[in-house]
């Protein structure tokens, strides 16, 4: 077990770290050379390399710098502090969860409509697909401006952008899932003279559950992206998106990278949580262990 899963993972991680540290040297070397020219000092090669891993505003921060920043802005800060990544993470997470909730509900409802109504199948599906071809970065500012003009601001606009991204995988997955019962299973219910709602609750819905979870995993990650994108155009001061933006304004590369990692960790956590929920649910639904 250990050799089969942990070792390869650690190997890959080690390779990435090594490449990362190696990449820092050419990326940050110019600054070190510039500083040396100014002061007229000299450095050995190993000192020079060490310096590229310890700059205050490197082009590419070294892994340990990002890790230190992450540690410093999570564990070492009060979570109410404006400098705490947990504080900013929660701002983004709350918008993500609200958007994910809205997107999932909308996605499931649309899928139910599409499966039961030919008119909706013909009319809604193309629009759902078109909606995803528009770059979110282009439409996000407009959503925020339009909502602001009718007095809606704060978390809800971000959540709506997040829902805009997350409803689509849910629609696609649920339509497939609700249509997954084969002709024989539908015939069986016909022999019981089952009505449409019975077919839905007893057959279509339970059959769609594995598809739903696959969609939810994509949907929740998309939700997080949506919430972060929703923080960018407003010049928001709170949230992971705001940290990214502020970091880029002031050339705080370490802050940008740590916010990126915080977002990635958050996304991984959310996907893992849904994975756990999936395992528990499917096990209860008699899935073969």
């Amino acid at each position: 077990m250990f050799k089969r899963s942990v070792l390869p993972v650690l190997t890959v991680l080690g390779v990435i770290m090594a490449l990362w540290y190696a990449a820092c040297i050419p990326m940050n070397s110019a600054w070190t050379i510039q500083q040396l020219e100014r002061s007229g000092e000299t450095m050995t090669v190993s000192e020079h390399i060490a310096d590229t891993w310890a700059q205050e505003r490197p082009r590419l921060p070294a892994p340990h710098q990002v890790a230190a920043e992450l540690w410093d802005t999570t564990v070492m800060k009060k979570i109410t502090s404006k400098k705490s990544l947990i504080y900013h993470g929660w701002i983004t997470l709350s918008a993500t969860l609200l958007g994910f909730g809205i997107g999932t509900t909308l996605g499931v409802l649309l899928a139910v409509g599409i499966v039961h109504s030919r008119a909706m199948d013909m009319s809604v599906m193309p629009w759902a697909i078109v909606s995803q071809t528009i770059p979110i970065i282009a439409i996000a500012p407009m959503i925020i401006v339009v909502l602001y003009s009718i007095g809606v601001q704060g978390m809800l606009p971000k959540a709506i952008i997040s829902a805009y991204l997350s409803f689509f995988p849910v629609v696609v997955g649920m339509v497939k899932g609700l249509r997954s019962p084969d002709a024989m299973q539908l015939d069986l219910l016909r022999t019981y003279s089952a009505n449409k709602s019975q077919s839905f609750w007893k057959l279509r819905l339970p059959a769609s559950v594995p598809y739903l979870f696959a969609s939810l995993k994509i949907g929740v990650a998309a939700s997080l992206v949506g919430a972060i994108v929703g923080e960018l155009p407003t010049g928001a001061v709170r949230g992971l998106g705001a940290r990214l933006l502020a970091g880029s304004y002031y050339g705080q590369t370490i802050q940008i990278w740590s916010a990126l990692f915080a977002a990635a960790i958050l996304a991984a956590g959310l996907v893992a949580l849904i994975g756990l929920l999936e395992r528990v649910t499917l096990r209860r639904m008699g899935e073969r262990p």
């Binding site: 015939d187 069986l188 219910l189 022999t191 003279s193 007893k202 008699g286 073969r288």
Partner: protein, 261 residues
């Protein structure tokens, strides 16, 4: 004239409109089935045996002729819970336990909780699956799954059991065993059974009446009333009568095929 007529088809026609033109699934099919009979439909693929069974069940609408089940149209008969249908695959819901699967028709039909439990226990006993109520389908063998699907069809006490190649996907030994059990079940419950099969020995062993069909267009070429007694041990298959009937069925199948070969 059959006594206690349960199913009656007169000059039944069914034409499917396909992209390759019309397909005559059934042509001029007339048949009468009496109460308590075990009727097998045998013939090559495309002879309409399954289609005919589906017409009885109201799952297909004939394009011509008359068919009545218990004196009603198939649709009315279905609503009156006249039949239970067993498909080729067990088709158990993987997310329900065996007990839960057998309960499915009872839930749909609105039986009370207490009656559901009582009926599930009774039919599970009938197919020798007592003790497997809480198991999930994947924990059972193919033969046991098919028995569970028969129990599901029996749960709401329909008088007619329609079975579409129920044992077609099982191996010979399991199939023999299930055939024996099915005959015992039939004797105990006195149901009328319509049974589609590919297998001549299976048809002869089980049936009181064998309907031989042939394809293009699907039609009945022979109806054989079996002289075998209702009590049938497995070794009856070595008897002279059994072999004679099997011969006649084979001849019927060959005659129906003549235009093809």
């Amino acid at each position: 004239m059959v006594s206690n007529l349960i199913i009656s088809a007169q000059n039944l026609d069914l034409t499917f409109q396909t992209n390759d033109g019309p397909v005559h699934a059934l042509k001029d099919v007339s048949l009468e089935i009496g109460k308590g009979e075990f009727v097998s439909f045998i013939g090559p693929s495309g002879c309409g045996k399954t289609t005919f069974l589906r017409c009885i069940a109201g799952l297909e609408q004939p394009t011509g002729g008359q068919i009545s089940v218990n004196g009603m149209t198939p649709d009315e008969a279905r609503k009156a819970r006249a039949y239970g249908y067993v498909f080729q695959a067990a088709g158990l819901y993987p997310w329900r336990t065996i007990g839960g699967n057998i309960k499915l028709p009872l839930e749909v039909m609105g039986f009370s909780k207490a009656e559901q439990a009582e009926r599930v226990a009774r039919v599970m006993d009938l197919v020798d699956l007592s003790g497997f109520q809480k198991k999930f389908p994947w924990q059972l063998s193919g033969g046991m799954q098919q028995r569970a699907s028969i129990a599901r069809a029996l749960a709401f006490d329909a008088d007619i059991l329609l079975m579409d190649e129920p044992f077609g996907a099982l191996d010979e030994i399991v199939r023999d065993h299930l055939n024996e059990q099915l005959l015992a079940l039939w004797a105990r419950t006195e149901k009328t059974i319509g049974f589609v099969t590919h297998s001549i020995p299976e048809a002869v062993y089980l049936s009181t009446k064998i309907v031989v069909m042939s394809p293009r267009p699907g039609r009945i070429t022979d109806v054989i009333d079996s002289p075998l007694p209702r009590e049938r041990p497995l070794d009856i298959r070595d008897s002279k009568e059994f072999i004679e009937i099997a011969h006649r069925v084979r001849d019927g199948l060959r005659a129906g095929h003549q235009d093809d070969v």
